[in-house]
Symmetry: C2
Amino acid sequence: MNELITTLRSIVGHAQVLTHDDPATDLSAWEQDWRKRLRGRALAVVRPGHTAEVAAVVKACAAAGVSIVPQGGNTGLVVGSVPDDSGTQVVLSLTRMNAVRAIDGDNLTMTVEAGCVLQVLQETAEKAGYLFPLSLAAEGSCTIGGNLATNAGGTQVVRYGNARELCLGLEVVTAQGEVWNGLSGLRKDNTGYDLRDLFVGSEGTLGVITAATMKLYPLPAAQLTAWAAVPSLEAAVQLLGLAHRHLGAGLTGFEVMGRFALSLVAKHFPQQRVPLWADHPYCVLLENSDSESEDHARGQFERLLETAFENGVVSDAVVAENLSQAHALWHIRESIPLAQAEEGLNIKHDISIPVSKIPAFCAETDALLQREIPGVRLVNFGHLGDGNLHYNVQAPEGGDPATFLREQEERVNHLVFDQVARFEGSISAEHGVGSLKVDKLPDYKDPVALALMRSIKQALDPQNILNPGRVLR
Amino acid sequence: MNELITTLRSIVGHAQVLTHDDPATDLSAWEQDWRKRLRGRALAVVRPGHTAEVAAVVKACAAAGVSIVPQGGNTGLVVGSVPDDSGTQVVLSLTRMNAVRAIDGDNLTMTVEAGCVLQVLQETAEKAGYLFPLSLAAEGSCTIGGNLATNAGGTQVVRYGNARELCLGLEVVTAQGEVWNGLSGLRKDNTGYDLRDLFVGSEGTLGVITAATMKLYPLPAAQLTAWAAVPSLEAAVQLLGLAHRHLGAGLTGFEVMGRFALSLVAKHFPQQRVPLWADHPYCVLLENSDSESEDHARGQFERLLETAFENGVVSDAVVAENLSQAHALWHIRESIPLAQAEEGLNIKHDISIPVSKIPAFCAETDALLQREIPGVRLVNFGHLGDGNLHYNVQAPEGGDPATFLREQEERVNHLVFDQVARFEGSISAEHGVGSLKVDKLPDYKDPVALALMRSIKQALDPQNILNPGRVLR
């Protein structure tokens, strides 16, 4: 091991290999996961500065038979980017590789290194006059490499897709320490298997993403936000259909929030004025991005909402008058997880269901959970435009949250995931598998798919040195 | 072999196994490729009627060690879906599997079998009130299974992406004859490796696609077409940027056509009135799909073209007044390959280059070819919005096309492909590899990528029974 550490220091420089040998060094930022579910222990944290160093590090680790945990901003929610507690794994932190290598306006692309922070990329693109549309809660600290490794989603997927859809090309270090130069600004390239999309979403188990070419879009001329109360989840789905028809690709956000979820924001953050929540079972947040003008966007919203009123699909609605009102509405949506935390620990789910089946899924699953755990409270909200719900389960009023979590989490997960399977959904829509859900996959994933995944892992990483035990056991 | 034929007949029924034993049976529709470059000879053509039969056929062939060539409409352009001339391969024709299994309007998806003809799917979607946007020249006879196996492109990629981007889930029979049920109406599912996108574009070498869930879109309220003459290819690229900004996602088509390409249409199809071609080096065809109204689309086009005139990016332009004028303009674009054929055999390329580099690529490559083959004529046209050119090379005026093709094809390919590599492009943008380009890949594909592809092929099809010799040798 000492020999490996010496080799690693010779590759990346002494200062870029952090170990527990120096008692003054605190590695918790790399060893502890975002939600503080697991504290691992690394053999070393290695911070290469460019791709050749990453390749050399992987080669050295492979030669030593030491496994590697690639890490970006370490903001993942499924314990996929921290070492296990063995003290034998190398954390390969990509955060020093944070150069924007190129912006190509005519080609609508930018080529960036894995360690670039998402928000920095949004701002870099905007300064150059373009939109980089990937947007999610952790954008201030997550990195594009991690976004790609986990195929991150977020709030604009309904229009722009997940991280995968925004990626045109990758540079990847393989498990053998070879560099695949697959950076590409091409929108069409049919010269073989789609390696790009295989590495995207593989959570660092097949290769280490070191750089990527991402799509850019023209900046919209205007962006408007509306908040609509709907009489039911069925109505929310109908409103989504109307919004697709009226706004076309202008529809860049469609979030749904249940009454109880909004009541928690109203209760714990009374300074936030939550509109319309008290008298309606669900509210919807819509965003319209327009290539023409704010007036045009407003006209479109008005026509959409008029039609929706006439059809009984919307009960009441407000359109933000200005940017600060729009931000305030989005802030309510983003405050739901924090309000939930204030209310106490809860059981979180990140599921997707075909949009058409969401009303039936919720009706059945709500009733099932109420039967099984009387008084249970459901914090249901999410990206309805993508069929993605954060269907969270909170202890009954007055119950002790910690006890609830300890006693009910397994059972509730089982009940919810079985329902997800019945409705042809996914038990992990946007957060990934990591180590948190790896033992659930055999119960809910097609066995042929699992066998194919194992074959691919075995083919590309026969030594099993890349993030072992994540995605696949 | 006779034993295998008997087994296959017991699986799919006697009538659905066609062989040369019956001299009255003409198998050329399955044995001859679309461009008549190769006439193979099959052991048998097998036509299963549902997925379980496909699985049983693959199992039987695998047990007998007989390789399989999956086939849809057999309209591919790279000799990827016909048997070799050994008489030992089974052609697995999917055309009988042509059911639309489901249309889910609220989820904006349809689930269809591999043998569905593309145009039938377009019409089926439209009848249900939706747009299925994949559109290409062979749509009257190609099948969605083949479109997915080759990741087909076409004329609306600038907005909707290639076949891969339109696919949410697949049903696939593996090389072992297992059925992977990966049909999914989900827009977000991060439960493991992206098998879907691995099978899409693998040209039948990794598995047999038997069904797919595809995305639908709302039908646009209006679709307008404009034809603009531009002073240069640089101007065409600038016009593309302006069109992205002005039309946003309304820009659903952006085709470029060189003067010589248009002159061939004017010469060989004089009944077609080609506008503006004679006095300008390039013309551009733009399509604007609008979710509001024809008036709105027209206003947008007018503002775009005004700005383009002011910037000197457009020299002259017409906007189609009605649908029949729009069809006539598209018909000119679609007639270029036919006009070329009238002029005589030529050397075809299907290349892509980052959009920003296309002007320099064409300037350099045009000059290079003129130097190497004085008088050579370049038929340059294609999907500029995707960076995809059909950069075709025609014999000098008066030269014998057949002699030219025989003597110059290898050399011209070499010159053009080397240029493509210099400009970081792809030697096959949308047509795939098949057997026509399989021997070129080692020269132009990253060696690490090729090694990864071989590992994956070996892992998923260790017997090499699925379309051997295609994509990879």
